[in-house]
């Protein structure tokens, strides 16, 4: 994959020994023993991702310091369960995520339902440390484990008519109280990207974070991560990916179109109608530490700004 960064690292520097070292580090960290390189499933043990398949993507800015995992695990918006960011940790544990399959359909050559194991067996998992900025004005830095969405889409072979991608969260009212009671939002949760956004190498499908499988409240077993957009775009627990000719109507956009646009790119100079987006509270930063100045495209402009050339970002917010 080719990702331009501020500190450009030549491809020769991304060498197998370094990857090997990283793997060793992870394995040591988790107290695992080295496992064979060709395991059929990436889920070798029940709760831990087989780290033999992970390498750290050294083409990204690694100076980012990850937010303590405990904070990331206990501050999640999961409206299917609750409107309270502290309660989702406990409530989400009732979710049933095994077995899991993902339907890929619409404008593709090969529409199919894939078992998650089969998807993962064809992917090399990477660790990517991304900034994550919520539309509510807080942010964190998360070491995700996953693979580029484009790698999966290519397997289904998108047709030239595919202009947009629609993602749908699982409908599981028996474990999700607000789906059952039809509270506030229309469920199942739907998100969408333009095809070029979806095919961009930064756009990640995550199955883990902090070197382990995703906790349920953080979107297990499979979630989207689009680091230059507000967090609500990064849909959790995906069961369906449809390639479409037209933009899908996304959940928050439908709920409050004047407040949440389809693009939802992080942009400090386009305020939410009710609050500023100029700064953010980085989780883990202490008392009397000022809020962080929010960056255009959450700091990923160098890689993705070209996607929005000649677009009025105030209009397409």
């Amino acid at each position: 994959m080719i990702i331009k960064t501020k500190k450009l690292i030549s491809s020769s520097e991304i060498t197998p020994p370094e990857i090997f070292q990283e793997r060793r580090k992870f394995i040591r960290m988790l107290g695992l023993t080295m496992v064979g390189a060709n395991i059929p499933s990436a889920f070798a043990s029940e709760d831990k991702i087989s780290l033999a398949n992970i390498f750290r993507n050294t083409a990204l800015d690694n100076s980012l310091k990850s937010t303590p995992a405990e904070l990331v695990q206990n501050y999640t918006n999961y409206y299917e369960f609750t409107f309270n960011k502290d309660d989702s940790t406990k409530l989400a544990q009732s979710m049933v995520i095994d077995p899991w399959s993902v339907e890929i359909s619409g404008e593709v050559e090969k529409p199919q339902v894939y078992h998650l194991e089969d998807i993962l067996s064809k992917q090399t998992l990477e660790e990517r440390i991304y900034r994550f900025r919520c539309v509510e004005g807080w942010s964190m830095v998360v070491p995700w484990v996953g693979f580029s969405l484009s790698n999966l889409l290519k397997i289904a072979q998108p047709l030239s008519t595919a202009q947009f991608v629609k993602f749908t969260t699982i409908q599981q009212p028996e474990t999700m109280p607000n789906q059952r009671d039809k509270k506030m939002l229309e469920f199942p949760y739907v998100e969408g990207l333009r095809i070029d956004e979806a095919m961009h190498p930064l756009t990640l499908l995550a199955v883990g974070m902090y070197g382990e499988t995703l906790p349920k409240q953080n979107g297990a077993p499979l979630r989207l991560v689009v680091p230059w957009k507000y967090g609500f775009k990064s849909i959790k627990a995906i069961v369906k990916i449809e390639l479409l000719k037209k933009p899908p109507l996304t959940t928050w956009n439908k709920s409050a179109p004047q407040e949440y646009g389809f693009y939802a790119n992080v942009n400090p100079s386009v305020p939410h109608p009710r609050w500023s987006q100029n700064s953010e509270r980085l989780l883990g930063s202490g008392f009397f530490t000022p809020r962080r100045q929010t960056e255009l495209f959450n700091g990923y402009g160098e890689q993705i700004a070209s996607l929005y050339q000649d677009m009025d970002l105030r209009h397409f917010f």
């Binding site: 904070l71 309270n84 100029n278 509270r281 009397f288």
Partner: protein, 190 residues
Amino acid sequence: MNGLIKSLLALTPVFCSLPLLFLGFDIASDNLGANPIQALHIRLGDWSLRFLCITLAITPIQAITRWRGMTECRQLFGLYTFFYASLHVLVYLFVDHNFMWSLIITDIIESPYIWLGVLAYIIVFLLGLTSSKFAMKTLGKNWKKLHRWIYLASVASVIHYFWQLKGNLTEPLVYAIIIVLLLSFRLLAS
């Protein structure tokens, strides 16, 4: 009985300070969750709104019970409203922004819900400044006029609360109902 009530009333400042004490414990024991600054900020906002409701409730309670023993408490509750609201504002300015005025000014300009918070605080501030008996005498008839602005402050605070939320609206709704009830009582009584 009267003696008991009187000694209970004497303890009011202790009760009014308890929220601050609990907050201090939660800060010391790191019990404010993943976003402690916001939690602190919100809790102080909650307590200023609660004390505002208590302050507004005194007159209706006295009218219903035909008991005048709480007039002095009203001033005290009003001052605690001012106290918690001031801490709420200070946490915003200092703890969350460390007085970085460029961030603060942009934030206030671009966040309409904060405008109402600012309005409510200016009113509460003025009422706090003029709460003494001396100010009451000096201002004469104008004192009552000025202190009626508390109703505007209460409405502004509740909208300030409502307007910033994305999800659950139950809690501000509770305050809205209380304030509508207290307001309508005053309007009907006058």
